[in-house]
């Protein structure tokens, strides 16, 4: 096996005349936290869609742990250990917080064609679910119906569900999106706590988080990779500043706040 866990090679996807992913080649090392940044419309979500199997690329290959997964279904990729969180909160609103995570734990079993024993009595699922809720800071909210939780709690629950599938790699699609100050702090602590335990591809607009967590950063503009390197390299790169912001700006030099 190579040093890379996820290998993206010559990936292309277009919608009509719009080329959303333009010949993207990107390798993610095992264990690293790799951030993917770029302005709105750079094609980040489209790229994530192809990595999770919700969108089929027009050309190119995706290899995960040495295996070509380009043609695999979403569920099969998840079973290989590629977990994701969603940019727009995606949970089971009628379930309790604990049931949300327990169902994700259940997904790690070979199958769920078990029709008799009530799921709520199965400690094999409930125990890890309760532990994970604690890990993401929701220990006291296990019995709360998910629809009645706050946006920030939903974001934490998302991460909990992704972790519950015992992943090898996490695809985190804007985990900080829409969070208030207090919630942001909790989330960045949570992200810092999982860093190193998993290989992470982090898509994020919050540059504080990106520059403090990422081992490497890739900049996507107009569907193309314009730069890839360590945070320092990216911060210093004049091309990035010009390409990313369309002008020379102090955004990265200051290493501060998110655009749009």
């Amino acid at each position: 096996m190579s040093e890379f866990l996820l290998e993206i090679e010559g990936l292309r996807k277009s919608f009509g005349a719009l080329v959303a992913t333009d010949n993207v080649t990107l390798n993610i090392r095992t264990g690293e936290t790799h951030a993917l940044i770029g302005p709105n419309g750079a094609g980040k979500t489209t790229l994530v869609g192809q990595l999770t199997g919700e969108l089929a690329p027009d050309a190119g290959h995706i290899r995960f742990a040495g295996r070509d997964i380009t043609a695999l279904q979403t569920a099969d990729r998840a079973r290989l250990g590629l977990a994701r969180s969603f940019q727009i909160t995606s949970i089971f609103p009628t379930f309790t917080a604990e049931e949300n995570v327990a169902l994700a734990v259940q997904a790690t079993e070979p199958h769920s064609y078990r029709f008799w024993q009530p799921a709520e009595t199965i400690e094999r699922l409930r125990k890890p679910a309760r532990k994970l809720l604690g890990d993401v800071g929701l220990e006291s909210l296990g019995r709360r119906i998910a629809a009645r939780m706050s946006h920030g709690q939903h974001r934490q629950l998302e991460i909990g569900m992704a972790l519950a599938t015992t992943p090898v790699m996490l695809l985190l699609d804007e985990p900080m999106a829409g969070l208030g100050m207090e919630e942001s702090r909790a989330m960045s602590q949570l992200l810092a706590s999982v860093k190193g335990r998993y290989t992470i591809l982090l898509i994020e607009h919050d540059m504080d988080v990106v520059f403090s967590l990422a081992d490497r950063i890739t900049v996507l503009v107009g569907g193309r990779i314009v730069a890839s390197g360590t945070p320092d390299e990216i911060r210093k790169s004049r091309e990035v500043r010009i390409a990313y912001l369309g002008e020379d700006d102090d955004e990265f030099a200051g290493g501060l706040d998110a655009p749009g």
Binding site: N40, T46, S90, I91, T94, S112
Partner: protein, 339 residues
Amino acid sequence: MRPNLVLRRRGWLLLLLLAVAILLPPWLGTYYVRFATQIAIYGMAALSVDLLLGYTGLITFGQAGLFGVGAYAGGMLIVLGVTNAFVAWPLAILITMLFALAIGALSLRTRGFQFIMVTLAFAQMLYYFAQSLRNWGGDDGFSTQRRNDLGFLSLESHATFYYVVLVLLVLVVWLCHRLVRSEFGMVIRGIRDNERRVAAIGFPPYRYKLVIFVIAGGIAGLAGALMANHAKFVNPAVLSWQLSGEILAMVILGSAGSLIGPVIGAAFFLAFRDVLSDYTEHWMLFFGPLLVARVLLLRDGIWGMLLRATGAGEVPKEPKVDFPEVPKPTAEEKPGAGP
């Protein structure tokens, strides 16, 4: 209110309903025994739709197709001399499940409105196929002359048959109650809530939807076979799209996602039809507005209302149904679309 108390009240309410179902019809007379049998059979069919609509978020408009397959299979088996119910009914269920497997395998590749139309199309195909069965009376259908028997027990008495149907209904409700709370049940309810997320954590939604579709088909098939016994007569009307619609109306009237609601809905639906059709053949003219009123005014159907009125908890909120939720690749592409 304490959860235990709520559960106890719900238990009492169910027991009360069961007592009414056991005692009331015979006291009222044979006509009402037959009427109650009809309610139990349609209630079972409506329950099968509830598994799909209320628990999986699939709107099927073709359940009468499977109900009808069960009715034809059940009726034909009697005529062909398979009179023992212990053989005939499981066989009718099995045949219906095979039809459900074929129909589900194709129709579950579509979603939302398409799924409604495809299930309707399959039911219509079965309807016209039944019409073309010349040996079985074509459009006129056929009479079975008699009912199945339980070996030692004849079912020709309306009361005996009613109690057998009632026992089967209670059994089916109980099995489904276990089913929807099981690990499998969590997956299909997850699909109802958020199919995309179910796939993202590693469950292939299609296969789980197919399994529940086949299970629901089996229940509809049993209901159909019982209907052939009840009426001792089968014709293509048991496969009609009108019946599919009526079954859906029963589920919605009663409370989707509650298992008991659809049976109550069936009772209300049939009672309304029975009473109104004494006065006018245009009874739908009155029933239609009632259904609209239910959707507009009642959050969760008759059963939900009953539960709240007696302090016995509530039906889970109106389930979200399966309208396509595909990733929107261009959402991010639109400036300002992100949070």
